[in-house]
């Protein structure tokens, strides 16, 4: 069912594409942290920006759009997961990412670094979803208050969750 005669708001579309170029990397990382495959992440990002287009065209507030984008993308994944159409909450594969190494390190250090990296990735993949989400958003530079707003939890809860995640990862690397 289409509303065929809606005029194209080229300004809004151009604005959306500029925001896509700016925020796609962060959203992609966030969704990968959430357990999405690359394709699923890009699908969710496209849907998020289509919603942003509607949001802007209907004159809704434009302040703090970055938080808005992360919140909508996160909710999309949560809804998909609830509906059972996709399985976005899979533990991340240990070898999904590259190796955490110092390029100037010697052979022995490289072996140790690779082992640490492997253990870190495995430990991250086992973290509960909320801890991964908080780590991901922290890594994107959001303040604790903003993370709380995006995830719908309190600021002190964010601090607790991050502390728990760091404790778990530190324990795994001992």
């Amino acid at each position: 069912m289409l509303s065929r005669d809606l005029p194209r708001a080229s300004d809004a579309a151009a604005h959306v594409v500029r925001l896509f170029d700016e925020h796609r990397p962060g959203l992609f990382r966030f969704l990968r942290w959430r357990g999405c495959t690359a394709e699923e992440a890009d699908d969710a990002i496209q849907e998020t920006f289509l919603r942003l287009h509607t949001h802007l065209r209907t004159g809704r507030p434009e302040d703090n759009l970055r938080s808005w984008l992360f919140r909508v993308a996160g909710n999309l994944i949560r809804d998909e997961r609830k509906s059972g159409r996709r399985r976005f909450n899979q533990p991340l594969e240990a070898d999904d990412a590259g190796v955490w190494t110092d390029p100037a390190a010697g052979p022995e250090q490289l072996v140790l670094a690779r082992e640490s990296t492997r253990r870190l990735h495995t430990a991250i993949g086992r973290l509960p979803a909320t801890e991964r989400e908080c780590l991901a958003l922290r890594g994107e530079g959001f303040r604790y208050r903003e993370i709380g707003e995006i995830l719908g939890i309190g600021t002190s809860t964010v601090a607790d969750v991050l502390k728990r995640a760091f404790d778990t990862l530190a324990r795994e690397l001992k």
């Binding site: 289409l2 890009d42 209907t58 991250i124």
Partner: protein, 178 residues
């Protein structure tokens, strides 16, 4: 860890610059005098770097078609998803049912006028300030199950309706054709 030492949460908030001025002052003074807490902070910083490296490696460039797909999708007319419109229509049916129940049970002189049978009924959550410019009328068939779900008599045949869709792509008003 000694209770006088800074907690992991305090160290992490220090690293993330989330301490208020008083907390920061206390933490800085303690760190200046405490090797164990400085070591703890350094470990958290190293772990944080490892997590950042991990996140950086998650990024993959957008496929060549992704930006083009978004542009094409932005050019397409807005789509109203079936589930959404069924929910809207069910709500509209509820409004109709409410009107039909209200009229006979609150008869006073002069009796309130029921809307003409062919009048559009504004949906309660539609934006009243939205201009009608660019609005379109769509003919739809409402599933009998949606009408029944709203508590209205569904009849035997399909229920046809016309929906006014505003420029924001959302349904604004409805009238039932049969």
């Amino acid at each position: 860890m000694n209770s006088e030492h800074l907690s992991t949460e305090m160290l992490l908030r220090h690293l993330d610059r989330e301490l208020d001025a008083a907390e920061r002052s206390h933490a800085d003074a303690h760190l200046a005098a405490c090797l164990e807490c400085r070591t703890g902070l350094a470990k958290l910083r190293a772990l944080s770097s490892g997590i950042d490296e991990y996140a950086a490696d998650l990024l993959a460039p957008a496929g060549p078609g992704r930006r083009r797909e978004l542009l094409a999708a932005l050019d397409r007319p807005a789509v109203i998803r079936p589930r959404k419109i069924y929910a809207m229509l069910a709500m509209a049916a509820s409004v109709l049912l409410g009107v039909s129940l209200y009229v006979p049970t609150h008869v006073q002189a002069p009796a309130p006028k029921a809307p003409p049978a062919d009048a559009f009924i504004a949906l309660p959550y539609s934006n009243p300030n939205l201009s009608s410019d660019g609005a379109v009328i769509m003919q739809v068939e409402v599933p009998r199950s949606a009408v029944a779900f709203a508590g209205a008599p569904a009849g035997d045949g399909p229920v046809k309706a016309e929906v006014v869709v505003g420029i924001d792509g959302l349904a604004r008003a409805i009238r039932f054709v049969n």
